[in-house]
Amino acid sequence: MRKAMISAAAAVMMALAGPALASGGVEIPKREWSFEGLFGTYDRASMQRGLQIYKENCSGCHSLNLMYYRNLADLGYEPAQIKAFAAENEVQDGPNNEGEMYDRPALPSDRFVKPFPNDNAARAGNNGALPPDLSLMVEARVGGPNYLYALLTGFTDAPEGVTVMEGMNYNKVFPGHQIAMAPPLSDDGVEFTDGTKATVDQQAQDIVTFLAWTSEPNMEARKKMGLKVMIFLVVFTGLLIAVKKRVWADVH
């Protein structure tokens, strides 16, 4: 009976917590990601390619407000490279001693520069649609990386009988199938500096890996600490069981 109760209790938790993970609507195929599993880490080369895609394809419309240029050290870049990367953008600073605002090149301590000064400007520049901030995109969507991959590779012609509104594009997985974003990736749309062939699938894989990192930059530290904590707790619990058996030996 006790065993039945324990397994029933476990079943409750799974049953109750499960629906939070279930995705609605279209079936999203599961893919393999370097950052999944107990030991998963972010694929550095893929992230670097992802950064290049973000810079060349996405950053015209999508902000990355929660990231600082200094965070790029996680991708394996040297301080000098990060400084040069940041300096390609201009930020407004000030007021200076004369009380004037002035523009200066961005520093590693600055946040990623936004494409639009505010939401209204972003809508005005995008046919009334607001391109969402990408910082938390992987965590903020049901299905996470698999959904984003499916979305980015899911642009097709509208099936017969479906009229797509003006300025909208047909997408297999987007809720409602009409998305304001034009297909952002195309074969050889970028020329990767590391020579990797830039297919749409490859680019989708890379940008999603990059955005998984921006969603949770501390994931690797978390798993590394988790491993140590679990090993400690297993040993510690073993000792506690031994102690309990000794203490109770004279009662049983």
């Binding site: 079943a11 903020a140 798993k223 988790g226 707790l233 069981i241 009662v251």
Partner: protein, 427 residues
């Protein structure tokens, strides 16, 4: 068992003669008699107090970095996740700790239901437990609003709007909760203040719960009272050691989620900043509210002169309020389901009913889910209002063992006498 320990250390003796903390601790946690037949389900009270302290400590640390303002709350949480040293760790512990608290407390409550722990003389102990559950729910609800994500905002909107169903004063109460005419900055601020306050109220009620427990002593799987030293073992070292084992397994379970699946219990939508202009497709509360949410939404029809919405609200609150009178609804004299051949199955039917309601709560209220929710809600109340009172009258319980010692060892108390002696040798 000696009741007035002689303290050898002069400092301890000096303090104890003026403020008997050491005598108190020795009495309540040293010599305190525990039934020797307790199983591991009796660990969950201790686990709940551990997680309560964990929540308070991590919560205080988070409050040092959190900004309760609609413009900054979401980003201040992300700052904790990214730039505050070990902020991700503290926040993930707090975030998953909420779910852990409810898992532990629900198991603790189902244990009470199965073994009849709420029956005389433990009615007040049970009632204080229900008060703790209500305080936990209020605290968890307000805590979920603080990150100011989409689910925070819309969950707060849906739940606070429930109060508008109350006749006459409903709208006034909602305005009072909001501090305005919509969920806004004033709402966030008062929820933060109350979310910080209520755990300390909770802590005080937990203290009362423990005092009540120490008056009546623990119940046990056989549901018979301890009759003498042969039935019990002192709390320390026996239950400190046993609770420690449970704690070890609990921490393993807890740590797995914190480190390897920290967002398992969460909703992706809450990583989108609150936006009053965009309603999420599917507003769901945290998993621990799902059965109650299902009861709320299962009333889709007016009941006599009561509108459907008000009836749903009444039943949702009623589903917890009914627990207050459970000690008097259950007419059976025998406590433990072990000796109640029919209740044993009735308990599991009720358990499955609760799970089913939880599933319904996670689904849109339509089709099969709605019908299952209505049947589940009906049975939930039938269980308490009809089955429990009637079953106690018609069920023939199995014969109870003469004593706890007999049920454990088949008679005799030699082992326990040895245990008591071992205890006395301790300095």
């Amino acid at each position: 068992m000696n009741t007035a320990p002689q303290w050898k250390n002069p400092v301890i003796r000096w303090v104890d003669e003026r403020l008997p903390v050491f005598t108190y601790m020795d009495h309540e946690y040293g010599q305190f008699p525990m039934p020797k037949n307790l199983n591991y389900f009796w660990n969950f009270g201790a686990l709940a107090s551990i997680i309560l302290v964990t929540m308070i400590v991590t919560g205080i640390v988070l409050a040092m970095q959190y900004t309760p303002h609609v413009d900054y709350a979401f980003n201040s949480v992300e700052r904790i996740m990214r730039d505050v040293n070990y902020g991700w760790l503290v926040r993930y512990i707090h975030m998953n700790g909420g779910s852990m608290f409810f898992i532990v407390v629900y198991i603790h409550m189902f244990r009470g239901l199965y073994y009849g722990s709420y029956k005389a003389p433990r009615e007040l102990l049970w009632i204080l437990g229900v008060v703790i559950l209500l305080l936990m729910m209020a605290t968890a609800f307000m805590g979920y609003v603080l990150p100011w994500g989409q689910m925070s905002y819309w969950g707060a909107t849906v739940i606070t709007n429930l109060f508008s169903a109350i006749p006459l004063v409903g709208n006034w109460i909602v305005t009072l909760l909001w501090g305005g005419f919509a969920v806004d900055n004033a709402t966030l601020n008062r929820f933060f203040a109350l979310h910080y306050l209520m755990p300390f109220v909770l802590f005080a009620v937990v203290a009362l719960h423990v005092v009540a427990l120490h008056m009546t002593k623990s119940s046990n799987p056989d549901g018979i009272e301890m009759k003498g030293p042969q039935d019990s073992v002192p709390f320390h070292p026996y239950f400190t050691a046993k609770d420690a084992v449970g704690t070890g397994f609990f921490l393993l379970f807890f740590a797995f989620f914190v480190f390897f699946a920290p967002n398992f219990f969460g909703e992706p939508d809450n990583y989108i900043e609150a936006n009053p202009l965009v309603t999420p497709a599917h507003i769901v509360p945290e998993w621990y509210f799902l059965p109650f949410y299902a009861i709320l939404r299962s009333i889709t029809f007016d009941v006599l002169f009561i509108p459907a919405k008000l009836m749903g609200v009444i039943l949702m609150f009623g589903s917890i309020m009914i627990l207050f009178i459970l000690p008097w609804l259950d007419t059976a004299k025998v406590r433990s389901a072990k000796y109640r051949p029919i209740y044993k199955y009735v308990f599991w039917i009720f358990f499955i009913d609760c799970i089913a309601l939880g599933w319904v709560g996670s689904q849109p209220p339509e089709g099969a889910a709605l019908i299952i929710g209505q049947l589940g809600t009906f049975y939930y109340f039938i269980h308490f209002l009809v089955v429990m009172p009637v079953l106690g009258k018609i069920e023939t319980p199995l014969p109870l063992p003469a004593s706890i010692a007999e049920s454990v060892t088949g008679g005799g108390g030699g082992a326990s006498a040895g245990a008591a002696a071992a205890k006395m040798e301790k300095p």
